[in-house]
């Protein structure tokens, strides 16, 4: 390409749209048939505007985002127009596309740990983008690029940028890595940033900081942001305008205030209603003291310690540190905490998947410190387990019926036809047709699989069910239904449950008693609505304040409160 691309002035000055998508249509070739991922999408993004594209998995939001950067794979066929500063991304040559990327539009990825190359310093990675382009017509020298990288790191709030420019990605925390990714995207000062689920992989407290950063960028530099997310709280926190997508089509487009106050389309209404909302629909509403205390204690942990052995020479990592709690029959114990807080480790230790290293953990009267698979196995029929990812927790080669029947075959001596009948009943109790027993796991949707997983966990009518983030891999509308089902079945069968989640709102819906974990320690435990309504400990307060709620006005208040809390610290 000899002629240079048409240089459009930065949107800010002219007021013209930074991004204009018209009738975008993307089709993928697959082994079976073509799949229409995006049917007809049109919207524009004004300078300095934050537009959120929301939708559930499979709605085509990520494909739309990739089309904006020309990142669609070879198997995709696209038509329509994606116009960024006068260039149609779908029509330009590969050379022009390279020039546009980084200069006019940049991307922030979901998982910051994989978006950065572990063998180069972050400074090098930011400079790479600068050196690939020639801002102001000349090559950027090594020294100049380094200075620009330091400046970019400073912009995104990395402390001591002069020093940390030479750090490698593993020397940063998850939130800081995401800041580095944003710094790399900002290096050439593009008019538009496409952020694909930028906070999904992060903890809520970190998420709040990144959202704050993105808002600052817009306010200070007038950068437009296209935000792809499934989290309505994030949308309420950040977006000016919202585009709701469903199965490849734009269902509704409105400003954030209007959308959350008066959703026009039925789908949007359903989507918003499904979002769990802290304080509504609490399981412990009206409780003043802990329920079920007169019942048998199923799990008793006293000063429980669980350590993971360190690598040669390095000390062991203490995942759970002197945690004490009890779970009584019939009670739902909610365990919340951020990643690395040890909540999953506790759940796995109760099911005998992890060994305890100190203190005492009694499960159904069995001391887990003296764990032997042989002696614990008879107790397993009283413990059900529901895993986080329903796709991975079923053997892909067995039918749903065979998977659900497994506990029955192992612990009972029912005949073949009795087992089949029982499996049918179990599937119906989780609102799946009994005929689904013949299907394979991949033939079910995520929500259906998680129901089947629940059916398997409950097959032997266990006294205790351990549910490890059972809904975090599901879409909100599906999550709402699975939670409702869980609550119904729990009331009906009366089993005790340890419900592990990072989502406070979800835990509040199910659990009467909630424990908050932070870095392996139980910071606070109490009745659900009291923890959520009137937290005592600093960490719980911060955790609650950083949770975005799906209501722009309320979220603005909470944000102010959160900042006050952080400033006061």
């Amino acid at each position: 390409m000899s002629h240079s691309t048409h240089q459009a002035p930065k949107g800010q000055a002219t007021g013209a749209a930074v991004l204009d998508i018209e009738k975008l249509k993307v089709t993928f070739a697959t082994d079976s048939a073509d799949v229409l991922a995006v049917k007809d999408v049109s919207f524009t993004v004004a300078p300095g505007e934050i537009v959120a594209i929301v939708g559930e998995s499979g709605s085509g939001k990520t494909v739309t985002a990739k089309a904006i950067l020309g990142l669609l794979p070879e198997t995709a066929q696209s038509s329509g127009a994606v116009i960024i500063s006068g260039n149609d991304i779908l029509a330009v040559s590969a050379h022009q596309l390279r020039q546009i990327r980084g200069r006019d539009v940049a991307m922030v990825f979901q998982e910051p740990s994989t978006a950065l190359n572990p063998v180069y310093t972050v400074g090098w990675q930011i400079a790479e983008g600068l050196r690939a382009h020639r801002p102001e017509g000349k090559r950027v020298g090594r020294k100049a690029a380094r200075l620009l990288a330091i400046e970019a790191l400073g912009k995104v709030g990395i402390p001591e940028p002069e020093k940390r420019v030479d750090y490698y990605p593993h020397q940063f925390s998850g939130g800081q890595k995401q800041r580095v990714v944003i710094a790399a995207a900002l290096a050439l000062n593009p008019g538009l940033i496409v952020a694909d689920e930028p906070t999904t992989a992060l903890d809520v407290t970190v998420q709040a900081e990144i959202l704050e950063l993105l808002r600052d960028l817009r306010d200070q530099y007038g950068t437009s942001i296209v935000l792809i997310t499934h989290n309505m709280g994030v949308v309420a926190d950040l977006a000016d305008r919202v585009v709701v997508m469903f199965q490849g089509d734009v269902v509704e487009e409105a400003t954030a205030q209007v959308l959350f106050a008066n959703p026009r389309e039925e789908y949007t209404q359903k989507l918003l209603a499904a979002v769990p909302h802290l304080g509504r629909n609490s399981a412990s509403e009206g409780f003043t003291e802990r329920a079920f205390q007169d019942k048998e204690v199923l799990v008793r942990a006293t000063d429980l310690e669980i350590e993971y052995p360190g690598r040669l020479g390095s000390p062991a990592f203490r995942a759970v540190d002197k945690v004490s709690f009890t779970i009584s029959a019939g009670e739902v114990f909610g365990l919340v905490g951020e990643s690395g807080s040890g909540k999953t480790t506790i759940g796995r230790a109760i099911a005998g998947l992890n060994r305890t290293t100190g203190g005492s953990l009694k499960v159904l009267g069995y001391e887990m410190r003296d764990y032997k698979e042989r002696t614990f196995r008879p107790l397993r029929k009283d413990i059900g387990f529901v895993f986080q990812d329903p796709a991975a927790s079923f053997n892909p080669h067995l039918t749903i019926g065979e998977c659900v029947a497994e506990p029955l075959l192992i612990h009972t001596d029912l005949s073949g036809s009795a087992v089949t009948k029982k499996v049918g009943e179990l599937l119906e109790s989780v609102q799946l047709p009994a005929t689904y027993a013949r299907r394979f796991p991949h033939e079910l949707s995520g929500g259906q699989r998680q129901r089947a997983s629940l059916a398997r966990g409950l097959a032997l009518k266990p006294k205790l069910l351990v549910a490890d983030e059972p809904t975090s891999a599901l879409d909100v509308s599906v999550q709402a239904k699975v939670l409702e089902l869980f609550r119904e079945i729990q009331v009906e069968m009366g089993f005790a449950a340890l419900f592990i989640s990072h989502d406070l709102a979800v835990v509040d819906i199910l659990a009467e008693w909630v424990g908050v974990l932070y870095k392996g320690q139980m910071v606070e435990q109490g009745i659900g609505n009291q923890i959520m309504g009137n937290p005592q400990m600093d960490y719980t307060k911060r955790l609650l304040a950083s949770l975005p709620v799906p209501n722009p006005a309320e979220q603005a208040e909470r944000r102010a409160m959160h900042q006050a809390l952080l400033a006061g610290k």
């Binding site: 079976s32 073509d34 892909p396 080669h397 497994e406 612990h411």
Partner: protein
Amino acid sequence: MENKKSLFSRLPIVSQLKKSVGLQRGMLIAGIVMTAIFLLTAALAPLISPYGATQRFDETQAPPSSVHIWGTTAGGYDVFSRTIWGAQTAFLVIVVAVALSIFIGVILGLLSGYLGGWLDRILVVVADAIYAFPTLLLAMVMSIAISQGRSNMWSGIFSAAISITVVFIPQYFRVIRAETIRLKAEPFVESAIVVGASSVRIMARHIYKNATRTLPLIFTLNASEAILTLAGLGFLGFGIEPSSAAEWGYDLNHAQSDATSGIWWTGVFPGAAIVLTVLGLTLLGESMNDLNDPRLRGRKRAGKKNARAKKKELVDV
């Protein structure tokens, strides 16, 4: 999704053929054709070849003629018949060698990967030690130890096959062990553990099927290597005696001195047979390997043929 594919279209080679496109398809078809010719020759050897494999004639080193269409060797064997019968020998050796090594390798791999501990450590060390050995040297030692220098057709085939087996077991062992270790951490195996399933049940029902998915690929790749090892053994004189069965490597060895005196037909045909069979099996194995990996698989462009986009009926909850 009620369009469950028929059993036939899910068979290993057939399903890959349906997925393939362009050059990959060409390579796969070439591999299939060459392998099919090899298999047919092996199966129909008694019908195709005019003479027996060990039948000797008075005219030695005779050039191709109407009686001996590919000529005869210095030992008085008919080259055409030897080459055809050689396919059968090669086929038998592959089947016995690969079947034995798969059987032993899979069982050891499952046990070692799932149970871990000292058993795992010992088996890995042994496998690594065997791996570190030059394959042909090991096969030679095994062949001498098994056949004690005397061999008729079946004992020759078995000694060749077992010596190849010893070399291949570590390969299957490693693949299955690695898969087993990966699968051990999968939630579906953990969910079987929390349900209370025994170790044998978990290995047999949950891990075995998932770990052996890649075996057809290693099988085809190893089959070609087995032929090369067999030919190597024969070439060095550790294979099957010429008086008990036809073997390409041996014939090639004896064609060595002929080549300098202008007698080309004794070497070219067995040599070509080895090259084509190995090429066919390798093409088949490699293209199946590529097609099984969605990232390496080429696809038709979207919207070219059957542009009728599939409406995904999501029967969601």
